[in-house]
Every structure is written in C-alpha cells, then in structure tokens.
Subunit: 155 residues, 2 copies
C-alpha cells in the first residue's frame, strides 16, 4: 500500500481554481465499520448483520456511507493540505455512488472549484469537487466540500 | 436524559410529504470525538489539541462536523423509522451551522420533503429536510438527506 502524498499546508490564498490534489489510498476494514457503528449509533443491519446483508441486493455487508465520507476527511488530513489552515468545515453535498466493502481501498481527489474571499480579510471560503474511488478506480462517493480557510495575511 | 422516541419501521409508502419525526437527544462525549478521530483519520488540531483549539475563534475543542452527521444517522436509526426498510443512503447535503462541544446533547428532526416512486416498483426515493439542534435549541447541522426505501408491495 502506497503511503499518502504529502502537501504543504495551504491557506486560502495558496489555492488556484482547477488545482487538483490526491490522497490515499487507505483500506477500510471490518473493524472500522464496527467502530463506526458504535460511535454513530447507526446499527442498520446492512452494516452489522452479515446474514441479512447477504440477502439484500448488496450481497454482503457494506460500510456506512457516512463512514466513507469520514475516511475521505481523514485522507484530506493525512495529505497535509489544510494542517493549521482550516478553520471550519462549512458544508458537504455528496452522493453515495457505490457500496464500499471491507478490504476496499479508497483514494481521494480534490479539485478547487470555487474561491470566495468572504467573510473576512483573514479567512475565505474554498469549495472542492471531491471524488473517492475504490481500488478498481470506480467512484464510490462524489460531490462538493466547502471549507473555511485562513488567508495568508492572517498567518 | 430522555430516551429516543420509537416509531414503527416506515416503508416508502408509509411516508407523507410534510410529516415530521423526532429522535434523540444523545450527548456527545470527548471519547466519541477521540474515537471518531481514530476511525476517520482526521486528526485536525481543532478536534484533538485542547491548547490549540482554545486559541482559535472556537475557544475550545469541538466535534468533527462529520461526527455530528454520523450521530444524526444514529439518532435516525435509534428512532426505528427505517429499520428493515432502508436499502441505501443516496445523498446528503448539509451545512455545519454551529460547533458542537463535548457534553452537548443533540436531537434530530426529519421532515419528509420529497417522495419519488422511482427507480423501481419495489423501492422509492425519499428526501428529508433534516435539522440537528443542541440542548439550547440552536441548530448545529441542517440540510437534506435522500434515502432509498423499500415499498410496501415488496415487503
């Protein structure tokens, strides 16, 4: 398994429209799914009951969609992009495109899609088109994230 | 702490536009934040480093936004609404409106906002306006969820 690519921390001013970043891969384990079940409280049988999940169209147990999203945020963290520059996660709009199964390896692609210098001189809003692919290159999660980032002037 | 309200499982056909459901409350602990840090891999200092977080505008450590979303899915599970009827989480579009701190208690409100009988006779798409409030009644998370639910004919 290849380690994550590392970027220097990016302030809002360091980003350019259309710029693309990559992170991952990271494998999703059954233990991750079990831990997420506990911390979320979402014990839906598709994520906890192998026999039940095997009888559904999914054919077996799958990760919670929000776990896949959580892992995507962890991949972004590991890539180092926003270390010390992120002030808040403002909005997420994502589709859960395909199931993720234990053992799948997820990679993240972020593309800068919108840069808004508001709300203040020391911070700005940055939106990213995001896409998570599995080890076969199939998209499992895609959409948009919006972050509040420090501006260079403030650091 | 009042236990969650319990509903019978709802198929797509059981839902009516404008119908409102409530779930929770549930307290968010520092241990929840630490567990989510591990499973997500998101070690952003705002969620892990008390001294750093105290120096930011937030004034102290806060829960990951996606943890708040995860807890909202757990509250929906605990309410029993979709037990055995949910086939997939299709889409989430939410804003992280306010910080959640250790000890805060979260409650969920879901309102049926759109009902689409596609894609097949045995399953339909249901969208919900969702809102998570803290113990002071302030909104910390709001937006829309879209689920794929069994239809009554198929159960």
């Amino acid at each position: 398994m290849i380690g994550p690519m590392k970027y220097p921390p990016h302030t809002w001013d360091d980003l350019s429209l259309g710029e693309v970043f990559h992170a991952g891969p990271r494998a999703v384990s059954r233990a991750d799914i079990d831990t997420f079940t506990e911390v979320s409280g979402d014990r839906t049988a598709l994520h906890t009951d192998d026999a039940y999940a095997a009888r559904t169209p999914l054919g077996g147990l799958v990760a919670h969609g929000v776990l896949n999203l959580a892992i995507a945020t962890g991949l972004a963290y590991e890539a180092g992009l926003f270390e010390g520059t992120v002030l808040a996660f403002r909005r997420v709009d994502v589709g859960f495109d395909r199931p993720v199964r234990p053992g799948d390896e997820l990679s993240l692609e972020l593309e800068v899609s919108q840069l808004d210098p508001r709300p203040r001189p020391d911070r700005g809003s940055a939106s990213f088109s995001m896409r998570v692919r599995n080890q076969d290159g199939k998209t499992v999660l895609s959409g948009t994230w919006t972050l509040l980032l420090r501006r260079t002037a403030s650091s």
